[in-house]
Amino acid sequence: MLRYIIKRLLLLIPVLLGISLVVLILIDFTPGDPARMMLGAQASQEQVDALREELGLNDPLPVRYGRFLWGVVNGDFGTSLMTKRPVIDEMLERFPYTLTLVTIGTIFSVFLGIPIGIYAATRRHTWKDNAAIFFALIAVSMPSFWFALLLIRFFAVQLDWLPYAGVETWRGWVLPCGAMALGISALIARQVRSDMLEVLRQDYITTARAKGLSEQKVTYRHALKNAMIPVIMVIGGVFGSSLGGSLITEMIFSIPGLGQYIMTALNNRDYPVIQSGILIISTMFAIIILIVDVIFALVDPRIRSQYTKAKRKEGKQHGKQTEEAVEAA
C-alpha cells in the first residue's frame, strides 16, 4: 500500500513539471508586456527594457524554466509583480477562504444529493423518481453564477435575511455555499441514482430480498454501500475541480479566495502569480484525487487485493478510473 502511494506521488512529479512548462510557454505567447503593465503607459522604452532585464524576462525559455523550478524546489514561488509580496504568502492567506467555500459547499451537496438519489432510485419510474431527477437535471443545467445572483436577489435584497457579499460572519457563507452546492448536489444525486439502479439489479440484492431482509436493510446495507464507490469518486472529483472553478462564486460574493487572486493576476498579466497559482491549484487537485484513490484502496477489499499483488498495470488503471470520474463531473 505504501509502495502504491509512493509510486503515485512519484508519478505526480512529471505531471507537475509538465504543467509548469505548459504555463510558462502560454505566458510566453501572451500579448502584453508585464514590465509595461507595471510601469504604466507613460514610462519610457528604456525604463521598460531595464525592468525587463531586471526581472529576467529577456532570458531564453529554458533558463527561465530552470530558474522557476529551482525556486519551487527551494520553496520560492516567485513574487507578485503587482503587490511585490511572495506568491506563496498571498496564496496561503487566501487558501482558507476557498477551502471553506468548497468544503462546506461539497458537504451541503452530499447531504442533499445522496438522499435525493436514493429516494429516486428506490422509486424507479414513478412520478416521484421522474420529478426528482428532472429537478436535478434542471439544477445541472443552470448557470451557477446566475443562480447565485437569483439567491442574492431573493434572500439578500428582497428578504434581507443574509448579506449579499462578504464573509466576515458565518451568515455571509450561506449564500455562496448554497450557490455552489446546487449544481454539485444535482450531479451527486444523478450519480447515486444511476449507480443504485445498477446495483439494485444485481443477484446479491435478490438474494438479500429472498432471505427476508427488510427493504430498508437491502437499500442501505447492501445496495448503498456497493453503489458508493463511483459516487465518492465523483465527489472527490468535483471537490478538486471546484478548487479551481470557484472563481466566479468568489467574484460574485467578494470572497478573497484563490480564484479571485488568479483572476486578478490574469487581468494584470502578473505572470509569477499565474504560473505558481495554476501549479499550486493543480497540485492540490492531484493530491485530492490521490487521497480518494488511496481511501478506496483501503476501504474496498476488491481494490485492495489488487495492490497486495503490487501489480503495476492495475494501479495505473485504477488511477485512470478516477480521472474518468472527474471528467464525467
Binding site: P14, V15, L16, G18, I19, V22, V23, L26, I27, F29, T30, P31, L137, I138, V140, S141, M142, P143, S144, F145, W146, F147, L149, L150, I152, R153, V157, G240, S241, L243, G244, G245, L247, I248, M251, G259, I262, M263, L266, N267, I274, I278, I281, S282, F285, A286, K320, E323, E324, V326, E327
Partner: protein
Amino acid sequence: MENRRKKQSRLRDIWRQLKKSKLSVVALIVLCLIILVAILAPVLAPYHYAQQNAKLKNAPPSAQHLLGNDRLGRDILSRLIWGSRQSLQMGVLAVAIAAVVGILIGSVAGYYGGWVDNLSMRLLDIYQAIPMFLLSVSLAAIMGPSLKNAIIALGVGTVPGYARIMRASVLTVREKEYVEASRAINASNARIIFKHIVPNAIGPLIVQITMGVGSCILAGSALSYIGLGAQPPIPEWGAMIADARGVMRQYPTHALYPGICVMISVLACNLLGDGLRDALDPRLKN
C-alpha cells in the same frame, strides 16, 4: 450502397429507441427550434440588438417590446434572439474543436498502442491535472477577450475527455475481424483508421458530444459573464446577465430571461444526451 444502407438503418435504429422517450423527443424539438431561432435571428428579432432608445431605459414590457428594454433602452427580446447565435456558436464550435482533436488523438493512440499511446496518455494526464474551468479561463484571459478566443479556450480545455473515450472505444474495435481483414489486403494505416476504426468507434462519443454542447454553452456563458466572451454590444446570454447585474435590485427580470435561455438550451442538450445514452445502451434494448 451497402454501406449507406447500413448507416441509415443504424440511425433509424437509434431514432426508434430515442422515440420511446417523449422527453428526448421534446428536447430534440427544442434544440431544433433554438437552432432555427439563431439562424433566422435577423428575420425574427423585431429590433437590431444594438439599437438604443433613450426614452425606454429599463422600460417595462409593452406591446412593442414584449420583454421590456435594458438599461440602455435596447429591446431585450431582440437581444435574446441575437444572443442565441453567440451561445450556440460557443457550444457547437467548441465541441467541434474538442471532438475533432480528441478523436484524432484517441484513435491514433488507441490504434498504434505502445509508446505512442503511452506518450499521448501521459500528455493528457498533464492536461487534465489542471482543473478544466481554470484552464479555459486562463487560456481565454491570456489570448485576450473575444468570442473566438473563448471558443478556442473552451474547445482546447475539453479535449482530454473526448480523446480518452475515443481511445477506449478504439481499443475494443481494433481487434475486430474487419480491421484484420483490411490489414490483410494491405490497406494503409490512415485508411484503416479513418475508414474502419473511427466510424465504428465513434458511437460512445455521441452522448459525450451532445452533452458537451450543453456544458460548453454553460461554461461559455460563465466566460462571457466575467467578460472573456463576446464583447459588447454583441449580445450573449452570459454577458447579458453580467450587464443586468447593476440593475438587479430594481429590474431583476433583465438577468432572469437570459439565464432561462441558457438553462433551456443546456437542459435540452442534457435530456437529449440522456435519451441517446439509453438508446445506444444495448442492455436496455428489448
